[in-house]
Symmetry: C2
């Protein structure tokens, strides 16, 4: 297996406060793997045996109801951890992880976790902070779903994606991985039909340019305005 260069991961929040020498030791416990686009990394409900760090690509975490309805929990960007079931005391993965682009991940066996945080308590602290940040994002999402109209929620979702994984273009920001209307619907609690209608509308106003699993924000500023507009703001 190709060895992972410590310099590539040393700056990640997960390893803040860990000495470079130690980092090497940590990485030796991991193996790396490549997942082609549209392959599952783990399935909701499966025994959690490993935890992951995304090095390259993009991963979508989804949660499914017994009746088959699904939401997108989040998109994982390079440098972020996922599948931390062990750390948060879960025996099974609470969500399904799928590579939406060809992706490369580091994989630690769960058995490494207790040893890791014993030797490097900073890792526990760092993880607590990331999980805490995700908790706050979830609360924000709940707040949005409770108080905003669909159009605003879609605007927020796109802006967040652009911030997390946007590729700056000469004229606009492109979301840097394949994403469908359906995916956006599952991020915002609506249907792909409604998302399609909204994006069509925006496209005709020149706010976005989009097509098959592809979205470019041509006028991010106006989308911010849309996102912040309250229901009773004056139209036009």
């Amino acid at each position: 297996m190709a060895k992972v260069d410590t310099s590539l991961v040393a700056h990640l929040p997960l390893f803040a406060g860990v000495k470079p020498d130690d980092l090497d030791e940590i990485l030796r416990e991991a193996r790396s793997a490549r997942y082609p686009r549209n392959t599952a990394i783990f399935e909701q409900g499966a025994d959690a045996q490993s935890f992951f760090l995304l090095l390259h690509g993009h991963v979508r975490a989804t949660k499914t109801t017994p009746t088959g309805e699904q939401i997108v929990v989040r998109y994982v960007a390079p440098g972020e951890t996922f599948g931390l079931a062990m750390a948060i005391g879960a025996v099974h993965y609470p969500a399904t992880a799928m590579a939406v682009d060809d992706s490369v991940v580091l994989i630690w066996p769960n058995s490494a976790w207790p040893r890791l945080i014993e030797r490097f308590p900073a890792i526990a602290t760092n993880t607590l902070q990331t999980v805490g940040a995700r908790l706050q994002e979830s609360h924000t999402r709940i707040l949005e779903m409770s108080t905003q109209q669909v159009e605003q929620r879609v605007a927020h979702a796109l802006l967040r994606l652009a911030k997390q994984s946007g590729k700056k273009l000469d004229h606009g920001i492109e979301i840097d991985f394949p994403i469908s209307r359906q995916d956006i619907a599952q991020m915002t609690g609506t249907t792909l039909h409604t998302v399609s209608r909204i994006l069509s509308g925006w496209e005709s106003q020149g706010l976005v340019e989009s097509g098959r699993q592809r979205i470019i924000l041509r006028d991010p500023h106006k989308i911010v305005v849309l996102a912040e507009r309250t229901a009773d703001s004056s139209p036009i």
Copy 2:
């Protein structure tokens, strides 16, 4: 200040893996305080200076939008921690905490946190697990808001409250603190009007008995059935 008996808190998840002698040392760093019903413990956006452990009573955490709309993030039951802004790397409290009943809390200054987790790494691990559990609950809530009708969401919310803070009666379960229609609306992403209509309907079927800030589940089993019924299940 009255000293807190270690035996009262020794069994809490927060202190799992901490030796009784050490516990005493931990508690000496805290002070306790009493908050009468309907008083704020901290406000969203304020500088986070302390973190809290609820000993007695009930606390409601709410999050408010710039435009004044509000959701209930969660209800805190005795034995649970809240206001962990420091632990998750937040400088300001992300929510407002209010005592919904006369409440007694332990309060640690944030400055105690780094020392605490250094001396007792188990506390960091335990906190990571509780925060992780809350994250999963949030995801479940998002899933429900995305896929279920209001009636089912209200059913789920009441069942959760009953489980967390239900007082078993001869015939049913009473939610053990004052809670209004408005509160339930803010937990489920709807309006107090709709909650009122739903509860009225249930009351006429003998599923619940309720009044001013008071709810008794008279037939929890049927409410479970309601909660699980999918939109396309046959009526009656």
